[in-house]
Symmetry: D2
Subunit: 262 residues, 4 copies
Amino acid sequence: MAREINLNSDMGEGFGAYDIGNDTALLDIVNSANVACGFHAGDPKVMHRLVTGAKRRGVSIGAHPGFDDVQGFGRRQIHMKADEVEYMVAYQIGALQAMAQYAGMKVTHVKAHGALSNMACRDRDYAAAIGRAIKTVDNSLVFVVVHGSELQRVCGELGLTMAREGFADRQYDDDGQLASRAIAGAVLHDPRAAAKQALMMAKDREVISRTGKRLKIEVETICVHGDEPTAVPVAKAVRAALEGAKFKLKPLDRMQLGRANA
Amino acid sequence: MAREINLNSDMGEGFGAYDIGNDTALLDIVNSANVACGFHAGDPKVMHRLVTGAKRRGVSIGAHPGFDDVQGFGRRQIHMKADEVEYMVAYQIGALQAMAQYAGMKVTHVKAHGALSNMACRDRDYAAAIGRAIKTVDNSLVFVVVHGSELQRVCGELGLTMAREGFADRQYDDDGQLASRAIAGAVLHDPRAAAKQALMMAKDREVISRTGKRLKIEVETICVHGDEPTAVPVAKAVRAALEGAKFKLKPLDRMQLGRANA
Amino acid sequence: MAREINLNSDMGEGFGAYDIGNDTALLDIVNSANVACGFHAGDPKVMHRLVTGAKRRGVSIGAHPGFDDVQGFGRRQIHMKADEVEYMVAYQIGALQAMAQYAGMKVTHVKAHGALSNMACRDRDYAAAIGRAIKTVDNSLVFVVVHGSELQRVCGELGLTMAREGFADRQYDDDGQLASRAIAGAVLHDPRAAAKQALMMAKDREVISRTGKRLKIEVETICVHGDEPTAVPVAKAVRAALEGAKFKLKPLDRMQLGRANA
Amino acid sequence: MAREINLNSDMGEGFGAYDIGNDTALLDIVNSANVACGFHAGDPKVMHRLVTGAKRRGVSIGAHPGFDDVQGFGRRQIHMKADEVEYMVAYQIGALQAMAQYAGMKVTHVKAHGALSNMACRDRDYAAAIGRAIKTVDNSLVFVVVHGSELQRVCGELGLTMAREGFADRQYDDDGQLASRAIAGAVLHDPRAAAKQALMMAKDREVISRTGKRLKIEVETICVHGDEPTAVPVAKAVRAALEGAKFKLKPLDRMQLGRANA
């Protein structure tokens, strides 16, 4: 039986008169959209446009909560108390749930954005705060987590449905973490290189690190970034490679995902 | 059979380190809380505190959406496009719905705040935008409307459940509108005067205007404002007067309210 | 002796990760930049980049204060009290004065942005608030005003230095006001048409209205908008036409401008 | 000859309809006000009220820049790039300089607020960013620094005028740092205890740590916090103790302060 895999992308990151990214093109390529919820990017009108577009293309939608920092695009670490993080995430999920009603859709996954995600990958309190917000608002939501992070551990402890994520267009360090964007070459702009890495993750459950080391990785979903100039050709190449290898590409809400266990 | 009536108050209007109002005292007096949703006041933590407090006291909760203007406390008119107003309102309702999950509660009504309400009372496009947001997000929500306003008309056209609102502690002009806060005496600070006005509205379906004119008014809910220094004694007196006249005070979600018709 | 004229453009309208407009190209064409001050657009880093760029090209800088509304790009009317408007404008001028120190420059003019300008053109209280802010912070600042507006009247009453502004790329109504952007053709995208209109304003002190009527207009500065896709060719054509007619193009701070009188 | 000393307090921390602190009472007690600049607290109207009040009481004013985070009251660490910190500080100084014009005053000192100050005390890049902002905007500004911090070192390197600060109402750890607010007793609410500590710092150049250790400290200015309920009696007692010991209390701009050297 063909294995199934998911392609996701961060979307809806415009704000008022400002636009960024390639939502229209990417909605034809990916299966699931991580929708900015108005804190680090996005606004109610942008959210409305994104969910109605996703509905038309059969793309599932998830909340992509971030810090309350449009100027920093959610990429600045902010030290909040854990309960503040939790309620901030719950609030954003709820806001998108309401906007999803305009397309008759349900929000079916949650993936933390930017600095919030980076902090939560290492900080157990932040990770648990995000997990509790998901569990409280809708415990059937799929929690998209970075492989091997505190997010994954918390997901297991709370018994949430889990989708582990790999990155098609980012280099990995030897410890399995993403190489910093500050390192030359850390972002893969060559569609063939990204497609090759995605296929290896999906098929062989491996990725080659920046130094050439072979690492084990288990992923149910692969992220292609939307804000690079090369986003669209990269996403197309990744999709073509996965389809060429007979993977079935599916929205997260139609995949066979288990409840995580710790 | 005893007639039923509701007492509501605007609450949860703190913001971060700032506080305002008398939430703790008022939750013991009123039946329904209009919860600020983070745009003109309130933040996720304040919302969490309010909904868990409301749950303990059996107070029903409603969304109190306002303009995105904490500095102006939602009291400045902002000219947005109607679709922007609509999505802004939907977003805020959804945010509160998520926070209500922390108390295992449902959001059961919506009442527009401040300048948004004032504009929508007169502007059909704004009123319809608010009505469509309610209808889309949850068409079982009770729409709290000012008697005789565009909000009431829209509520009827959309077939939403309606609760008409009177004000215990504000004077009325001869045309049935609230007298401007700028007029001396427009806010009633005397608990007996407010209680008398509330009782007359509830019992006799009348209110005496500023100039002494007797006006017809139909209300299912009476608002007591929370941010005046006299809020608590006023609210207590209003409640005592209604109970003394054998009214049954009920949360909005347990009243017999009809679908409005135009 | 050759007449002198100024070309100005609104700039520095990016915000964090977001960009908009064509600052780099326009700084080589215009003489004076109206710099967004962080309320409707712009942030301290964007302001820094703009003032240092302006310094290198000999472009004078002015504050371009707007409403505190990045999401609405300062294009939504907000009803504030006049003293709130005044202090909001003063604050923004001061912020830019500090940033100008990074280029060893002085802020030499002020021009209100978007909805704030539109409201102040018709509302005497708003216009006076802006004028008082300028007078208080630095009464040598040139006040760029729309011909025939309340801004012009206030500028005269306060005895501020005045530069009247015409628009190269916008149609005029018969009453001398700008035609609404909502009307087809209201924005001139054809470089030749814009150049012709600018030259007629500068040379003949006239402009032809949308309906073909010949109107009197007196301008010391001509605005070319920066956020249209056609902004750069339009600005180049306008500049070429004015230079071809032997006008001396000058920054506002080096022009012979009189103190206005009422 | 009598030694001179300064009392400072953080002020102007209201925001729109919200108020906090005891500005009116404190302006009669302290010599210098650190004015919130609209990022972590304060708004243009609050700033206007504060500077005009300070003028009437002969209190000197300084900028009190903080992170752009009203909800967190500037008490949340935010990880920005050093240049972003620098321009953010410069912007806020400029904004206050403009508002000071309403009172015909000059801004004469700068003191960083909350989490920005805490980070800069330990982080050389943040400290240098604040120092460069001061040097660029007005190199005659007095830089109020925490004794022994990176702020003090940077102040020396940049040759800025320095005022070292001690805290009357906060306990110290053995290493000379402030004890965390989370520790019981870390904030002194007893006016006599605060007065005693202030006098010991001013007169004996010593402070007794939480564990009873005697520490050397050199201060030209003593802070009394404005947002504690005990702020006013504490401030009065501190002032009385210093005056009783024949100290001359002076605004920062009229003290004999040296250029720091590294």
